[in-house]
């Protein structure tokens, strides 16, 4: 290839891309109808926050570290700040950082929250950097895997392998710590989420395949849901951004097609739902029976009770796409250029900068 548009291969590939995009558009694949509103909202948020350019920030920070290293503070302080990499505040620090005002009431907590683990790591899927990384509580990278194409989900398995969902290449794979693929499933269309189930099967939100499937280790689809059934017996399709198998055998799904969270039984019948959940990216059932939902475009994480009352919320977030309630009662949020841990009253107590974090999971080590 000589790199010019006249090169046969390149032109042919470009023509294929152009024709493919046009045919999809003729078939109705068009911009999200809410995109213009999203842009205006994002621009307003950007004006409000006016965060400096990240690259410039990194350069400035690097310069600052050098100055510090040259003697503005002592060598010990320099050593500590340098070792903590990009972490803003360790979780041991109870002082809340300035954040959007917490919204009462206080969330319902488990009666006996587990103590904060002495050691924990956070597994992060960084979509923009095409990598999965695991950082310790001090922000040190303890493991990473590059060339994960469109990393949208990463889950640590019991055997210490990692289950990775690659949106851009439509693949879910289990890798060992050397990055070797142990298992994979590729009959997918831009999936967002995958979980290994206790029975050894894998539950996959095949997002643009418009289905949720359960695949056995041999790669056979043993359960498929491409429509849900409401109380009137009417079926409707879905675009699942997240799917979790619940202990009762039902499945909880964040369905962005109809801006809802649904719990369905194995036959696909809706047994619980929360409507008016615009651009819902994640939904988790909590031990207390409530449901934690992540609304990306609104920048909110809500905890809903069984009657869909909002009993707790975080807002003012930066395009969150995943939120988990931790055993210590805090909430871990993947919000684009950072992964954050918030305590129940909304104070930020831990933060790790990323390029575009879309999923984060905390594991005791």
């Amino acid at each position: 290839m000589n790199g010019t548009p006249n090169d046969g291969d390149l032109v042919a590939m470009a023509q294929e891309l152009q024709m493919d995009a046009c045919l999809h558009e003729l078939a109705g694949v068009t911009p999200n109808p809410a995109l213009a509103a999203r842009i205006l909202e994002a621009a307003a948020n950007a004006r409000a926050e006016r965060a400096p350019d990240r690259t410039a920030t990194r350069h400035w920070l690097a310069a600052a570290v050098i100055v510090v290293g040259l003697g503005v503070v002592g060598a010990v302080a320099w050593s500590r700040s340098h070792r903590q990499d990009r972490v803003v505040a360790p979780p041991q620090d109870p002082r809340p950082q300035p954040q959007p005002a917490p919204t009462p009431p206080k969330p319902e907590q488990d009666p006996m929250p587990a103590p904060k683990p002495a050691k924990a790591t956070t597994l992060i899927a960084d979509y923009s950097d095409n990598r999965v990384l695991e950082v310790d509580i001090n922000g040190r990278i303890v493991w990473s895997l590059e060339d994960v194409f469109g990393a949208w989900d990463a889950e640590l398995l019991a055997n210490d392998h990692v289950l990775i969902t690659e949106f851009s290449v439509s693949r879910v794979r289990e890798v060992d710590r050397q990055g070797k693929t142990i298992w994979s499933f590729e009959d997918l269309k831009n999936p967002y989420d995958a979980d290994r189930l206790p029975n050894g099967n894998t539950l996959i939100a095949d997002t643009f395949g418009s289905r949720v499937i359960e695949v056995d280790p041999a790669g056979k689809i043993v359960w498929l849901l491409d429509a849900v059934i409401d109380q009137n017996g009417e079926k409707s399709g879905l675009r699942p951004f997240d799917a979790d198998r619940l202990p009762n055998g039902n499945t909880l799904i964040a369905d962005v097609l109809r801006d809802r969270v649904v719990e369905v039984d194995p036959k696909g019948t809706i047994v619980w739902q929360a409507l008016s959940m615009p651009n819902v990216h994640d939904a988790d059932r909590l031990p207390n029976g409530n449901t934690l939902v992540t609304l990306r475009n609104l920048g909110k994480v809500l905890e809903l009770d069984r009657n869909c009352n909002v009993v707790w919320k975080l807002d003012g977030l930066r395009s969150p796409s995943d939120a988990d309630r931790l055993p210590n009662g805090n909430t871990l949020v993947a919000e684009n250029n950072q992964v954050s841990e918030y305590e129940p009253l909304g104070g930020l107590i831990w933060r790790y900068e990323t390029s575009w974090a879309v999923e984060a999971n905390r594991y005791p080590r």
Binding site: L10, A14, L17, L23, H24, E25, L26, I39, N130, F167
Partner: protein, 189 residues
């Protein structure tokens, strides 16, 4: 499990008071930028996100206040930068992006691709037989839902690889048709 039949409380969006001309300019250029990204190979979700990011940058740099052509150029350059950053600026991706840009400038620059899409719609309607069925099933055109290649193959009595080859041929055929139509349109006084 409690069955919930009534809708939950709605979650209101934060009120954003945009200047009306800003909203107009966003809508004026939005489809063009999104389509440009799709032609570079961005999937629909990536195209949504990168379009949003490109517009936010344009707003911050006051590029929406330029004349329409300059704004469009700024947005496309920004979108290209963001897309290639997503692809980690691999050399092959940059070379392919150059080729896509050349095609865009040739086929789509004037009307953000609207003219090409209109021509393509007419060309698809002229397709017949297996070619038409394969396109309709594969892309979900007309009354069809998008269908997997294996199912298209089953419907047409072909092997999956046969469908792949057929689709490559049909896309070439459509491209030829579109180019002829665009040439004819441009030569019409």
């Amino acid at each position: 499990m409690q069955r919930l039949l009534s809708p939950s409380r709605s979650v209101e969006a934060e009120p954003v008071p945009p200047p009306r001309d800003t909203e107009h300019r966003i809508r004026q250029h939005l489809t063009g930028v999104w389509r440009y990204l799709r032609m570079h190979g961005a999937n629909p979700h990536e195209a949504d996100d990168l379009t949003q990011e490109a517009f936010v940058i344009a707003l911050q740099k006051h590029a929406l206040g330029l004349d329409a052509a300059a704004t469009a150029t700024f947005l496309r350059r920004t979108a290209r930068f963001l897309f290639l950053r997503l692809r980690r600026d691999h050399r092959e991706a940059v070379l392919l992006a150059d080729a896509v840009d050349a095609l865009w400038n040739r086929d789509c620059a004037e009307h953000d691709g609207d003219e090409m899409l209109a021509a393509l719609r007419q060309c698809v309607e002229q397709l017949q037989g297996h070619a038409r069925t394969a396109v309709e099933l594969s892309y979900g055109l007309g009354a069809f839902d998008p269908t997997r290649r294996t199912d298209v193959a089953a419907a047409l009595g072909l092997l999956p690889n046969g469908v792949k080859t057929l689709m490559q041929r049909v896309r070439q055929q459509l491209r030829g048709c579109v180019e002829r139509r665009q040439r004819a349109t441009r030569s019409t006084p």
